[in-house]
Symmetry: C2
Subunit: 349 residues, 2 copies
């Protein structure tokens, strides 16, 4: 059961329960709220006095990931991260996950070990207990479905619907990097398909590749907001792109918005790579998605608390609904913010 | 938005959020424990003073269902049922579900409406709130991942691990029917593939077909146990077949078992159909699976309370571990109970 890269064990050599046991035995229960984890018909949790937060996300081969360039360990890590990010977006703390997956018979048991090593890494990083799941082969394609469960004090839970006119619009980290990392991977895949002797040229773009392959949930920012005694008025995580998420906050809070293009945080790496790909970096930030940063609104009085925080950038403010959801461009023109289609980055703005 | 069987709307004509809204708007929140359902990054639940039970199950095209003969409405209903059944097996009450699914682009929106009409039917039947999920297209194959969340008093939660020697082994309903229903459907599929002019001959076998296509979770039995003031010492639901589930109880409770073949409840419909297929009806019950009945153990003193309950049958008793896990056949021979392989009904015993 030690790492044996040379070995290959077919999934069919294991029974389902033997396989589950092999994959999950390294996950000890750590949270007091986990009464019973894996091994019965269902898990049992105990959250006396706290509210319970539940979210679920799917990752599907060919839609959300490409096994040609996504290492299974990263896939496992990312599948957990995107759910923890949703719990963060409620201003809550993730505590448990269930992991269900189906893979083709052509997968080896060692490949599943890789997947679970990424899940384990995420559980350690985010302090999660793995409490259940379901495992199957599939005749076609691989997918992972993760459900995360968390807790929060009622007074701290942050919905998408609480923003008011004049609230500040803030974002964590920087945007567009995950999308540009994907462009690098897709380019190298195309070149590799044309000529399999070509070595991938990842251009030492470890930052952008990591943004795509191994994003982090901003549990650190949730902790920071607690320390600063800030409860955002509304919050969402950036999975589909800044435009789409701003529109969600505006629709559900019934407010408008002014987003200042010049304030959108974009890393130097992303700026340079956008130039190379002849893309507009702002468009990558607005529509690229998968950055898993947090977008939230604050009462104006909280500005003093965040203005010197390097991980938080004020990028605009909310308005009355009638004023619309607008981008102020660098040259001071006003544009309507538009959500992009489902699973589509169409480019342009 | 009314039923329009003749219409066909491509999934791509809808945005993701428009599609989710169409599918989920008919699901009102009914449970007091559901603070916030669909529409934010995560759902918020409140279970002050109760323990929370969580389970998840996958249904995968080509493994768990065949769209050639499974109506989508039944698929939606069954995807919920199998999870509610797991919550029942903890002696708990299901309250919320999340539903994630991926379908190929070739599905129409009307087909998804069918799927959700089955989910809605199950939500009404079992008193569930739909609180979230994730929706995607897939390049290959259809699958559904459901997570169910429930509640129980701590004193009533029933694990697989609480059985003792001399406890009675009980089962609800009757067994083997779901497997025989599947045999009918598979036979008709083979005939249809050979000659598409042949009309399926389902032999008026509505009972067996319903056992396969639209199984019920035994929430009625959980209610009955409460009324009888019975807390089973251990419990599991029958998804993989009686043999496999008895072995789970024995392993996790560290006991042996004597199962009496003559006591295994098998419907007349299943007996007759087993004869037609030249199968042994007991083997169908032991290894067929998917009956979603409850298997549980009781303290001997509880016998008086269940002996006249038509939905509960005593089929054996637990023993010391050393005595093994045995079937007493009709002709009084002792056989070892053996679990069948993963996803396999190999026939014979």
């Amino acid at each position: 059961m030690e790492e044996q890269n040379a070995e290959r064990t077919e999934i069919n050599e294991f029974g389902e329960f033997e396989l589950i046991n092999r994959l999950t035995k390294q996950f000890p229960v750590k949270n007091a709220s986990t009464v019973k984890g894996i091994g019965d018909d269902a898990a049992v949790l105990n959250y006396d006095g706290k509210k319970i937060i539940v979210t679920t996300d799917l990752l599907i081969e060919g839609i959300h990931f490409d096994l040609m360039y996504v290492p299974l360990k990263h896939l496992g890590y990312k599948a957990v991260t995107v759910n923890v990010s949703d719990i963060c977006a409620m201003n809550a703390e993730a505590k448990q996950i269930t992991v269900s997956f189906a893979v083709s018979n052509r997968f080896s048991v060692e490949a599943l070990d890789e997947l679970y090593s990424g899940i384990l890494y995420a559980c350690r990083k985010y302090g999660l207990d793995l409490i259940g799941g379901d495992t199957s082969t599939s005749t076609k394609g691989t997918f992972i479905s993760v459900t995360a469960i968390g807790e929060a004090d009622e007074s701290k839970i942050t919905y998408r619907s609480g923003a008011h006119a004049n609230d500040l619009l803030c974002v964590t980290g920087d945007l567009g990097g995950a999308y540009l990392g994907l462009q690098i991977l897709e380019r190298e895949k195309r070149l590799y398909i044309e000529d399999q002797n070509i070595k991938p040229d990842l251009e030492n773009q470890s930052y952008l590749l990591q943004r795509q392959l191994r994003p982090e949930a901003r549990t650190d920012v949730i902790k920071l907001l607690g320390e600063l005694e800030i409860v955002p008025t509304s919050m969402i995580d950036i999975s589909d792109g800044l435009s789409s998420e701003i529109l969600h906050l505006c629709t559900q809070s019934n407010v408008g918005c002014r987003l200042d293009e010049s304030k959108i945080p974009i890393s130097d790496e992303a700026q340079l790579m956008a130039l190379k790909f002849n893309l507009d970096a702002t468009t990558c930030a607005l529509n690229g998605g998968e950055d898993y940063e947090l977008l939230f609104t604050l009462k104006p009085a909280d500005f003093e608390k965040v203005k010197n925080q390097p991980d938080i950038t004020v990028i605009g403010f909310m308005t009355e609904t009638e004023k619309g959801v607008k981008l102020i461009s660098r040259n001071n023109h006003l544009y309507d913010l538009v959500a992009q289609g489902w699973n589509a980055v169409k480019g342009g703005n």
